[in-house]
């Protein structure tokens, strides 16, 4: 542990840099001024009260929740198929196929967005919440696979084999043994996909029709300086919500690690 002095100071400074914008969020959300600048002028909960009265905001939140829940479920289903296949089986062109499925992880989102937009318009499909879901599932599936892959790999395969030896069929062994063991991975994949979809802007910006998602609505509000404090209040609520979600996801991930008896290596990705 010697010589960690300078690195330790650097690590703390780096955390300050990482947290700088996040710390400002609640400060301005409770600040009694329409201008977002220092010095702070006083405490108010007015901006939070205003949130309750904006109809367009409520619609966008409901729309976003609908999209995020659908995306989480679909992406996790696709993730289970692909992660199970890649962790358990050897099949032809495995590297190529898995690499191709994982592409959206590195592809700029704008490329996915314009490519889908062009196809949907050509096919004459009207833009709606479902067109956003199509794009979000594509984006979230690789993250789901990454999480589920480690869950499937961490599982001791002899447990499955024991189930076969004891007379279970492939399906019943999967349902009774494998699924409960990877359940924490599934929960954390659902939560991560949900969070990614809820926050995704570019794909939603291109593919949403007349019903904006929450980030698309936020984007339209950032142009009006007088609306900013309300946006800050909303951001604070979102921050609190995602903290709760992530802590839950981390809890399930750790429980999963403990359940399969592996060593905790930390991190979602």
């Amino acid at each position: 542990m010697k010589r960690s002095g300078w690195l330790g100071i650097y690590a703390v400074a780096y955390l300050v840099f990482l947290y700088a914008p996040v710390v400002l969020l609640p400060l301005f959300a409770f600040n009694d001024a329409t201008i977002i600048a220092f010095p702070l002028s006083g405490f108010t909960t007015e901006w939070f009260a205003q949130l309750a009265t904006i109809e367009a905001l409520h619609d966008s939140v409901i729309n976003s929740l609908y999209i995020a829940v659908s995306t989480a479920i679909l992406a996790t289903c696709f993730g289970v198929f692909a992660a199970r296949a890649s962790s358990r089986y050897d099949f032809p062109a495995k590297r190529g196929i898995m690499g191709f499925i994982m592409i959206p992880m590195v592809l700029p989102e704008i490329i996915i967005a314009v490519a889908l937009l062009v196809v949907l318009l050509q096919l004459g499909i009207a833009l709606s919440a479902w067109t956003v879901i199509l794009g979000h599932v594509l984006l979230c599936t690789p993250f789901s696979i990454a999480i589920l892959n480690s869950a499937f790999l961490a599982m001791d395969r002899s447990l499955e084999e024991a189930a076969y030896d004891l007379g279970e069929t492939r399906w019943s062994a999967f349902r009774l043994i494998t699924l409960p063991l990877v359940m924490p991975g599934i929960v954390s994949s659902l939560l991560i996909s949900f969070t990614i979809s809820l926050d995704e802007f570019i794909i939603a910006f291109f593919l949403t029709g007349n019903e904006p998602t929450l980030p698309v609505y936020l984007w339209s509000q950032l142009r009006f300086p007088q609306k900013i404090p309300v946006v800050m209040a909303l951001g604070t609520i979102l921050l609190a919500a995602s903290l709760i979600l992530l802590t839950t996801a981390e809890y399930f991930r750790r429980r999963g690690v403990a359940r399969t008896g592996a060593k905790d290596t930390g991190g979602f990705l």
Binding site: K94, F100, I111, I112, L238, G267
Partner: protein
């Protein structure tokens, strides 16, 4: 025929077939919603559009325009320069923190540190970028802080509404994507190798340069690619903090698609950006393999 049918039946029970069958729903989805749309914009880049009607005759006009028009060329070069700068800043800042967590934090507290590092990135991306505008602005947090401390006499203006602001904001936004792969690579290093190096008379610094760094290179290479490739397509940050001289190629792609109704040119710009980024990435990987012997 009988043998063929039997062979087919046998194949269907084989491990390869079962794996393929299992992966097929996901693969099919990716083919329909990724491969087909990408193929469509490739086709679009060779077509032209007059208001709302698409002319499907083959033309290279879009490519000529995208590659020779000074405005597009400037946006493309600026996007590459910004992405390159963001990648360098992000990875160089990320390495020490990944090294710190991997080598100086007690094993049972590593997960907590990684969790701490990733938390800020689960707040709304739009709001985070907007808050950088608040920090870097003329009357912003940084300027008022520095003025209050008497370090500067008048507000700094080179930090908002230009390329610098875009680099700072993106370096923040992509930090965990650089830290995590480097951290994973550092974690994989067998600690006894470092001891062996010390026993053979290397100093701490030469051990780092000759053992730790080369072994961590796959993580660094992954971090570079993970940051460099997507940042070229960032739309929000240049729009919010870039000002007129900080706009990037994604902003032009959006204008072509949504404002000017010129999907073919938009598609060409998007594909050109991807081709250039792809070529640079492959060159980067090749150079690493050739000269540093890095294997992924």
């Amino acid at each position: 025929m009988a043998t063929l049918a039997a062979r087919l039946r046998r194949w269907r029970r084989s491990e390869g077939a079962q794996g393929l069958l299992l992966v097929s729903p996901t693969l099919l989805y990716a083919l329909l919603l990724l491969a087909a749309p990408l193929a469509t914009i490739v086709a679009f880049s060779f077509w032209s559009q007059d208001y709302l009607t698409i002319d499907r005759s083959f033309t290279l006009e879009n490519y000529r325009e995208a590659w020779t028009e000074p405005l597009f060329r400037e946006l493309m070069l600026r996007s590459l320069a910004i992405s390159g700068a963001v990648t360098m800043v992000t990875v160089i800042l990320a390495f020490p923190i990944a090294y710190f967590v991997s080598f100086h934090v007690a094993p049972e507290r590593k997960a907590l540190w990684i969790f701490l590092i990733t938390i800020p990135f689960w707040t709304s991306y739009l709001i985070r970028v907007f808050l950088w505008k608040v920090i870097l602005g003329y009357n912003g947090v940084l300027n008022s802080g520095l003025l209050g401390l008497g370090i500067i006499d008048e507000p700094l203006t080179f930090i908002l509404y230009n390329a610098n602001a875009v680099v700072i904001t993106l370096a923040h936004a992509w930090a965990p994507f650089a830290i995590l792969p480097i951290f994973v690579a550092l974690e994989k290093i067998d600690r006894s190798l470092l001891e062996a190096s010390r026993d053979l008379g290397e100093t701490t610094v030469t051990t780092f340069l000759r053992v730790t760094l080369p072994l961590a290179m796959p993580g660094v290479v992954a971090a570079v690619l993970i940051v460099f490739i997507p940042t070229i397509g960032d739309y929000v940050t240049p729009r919010l903090v870039g000002g007129p001289n900080g706009l990037m190629i994604a902003n032009m792609i959006q204008v072509q698609f949504m404002k000017l109704n010129n999907a073919p040119l938009g598609a060409t710009l998007a594909l050109s950006a991807m081709l250039i980024v792809g070529a640079i990435s492959i060159l980067f990987l090749w150079l690493n393999r050739r000269f540093l012997k890095v294997r992924q």
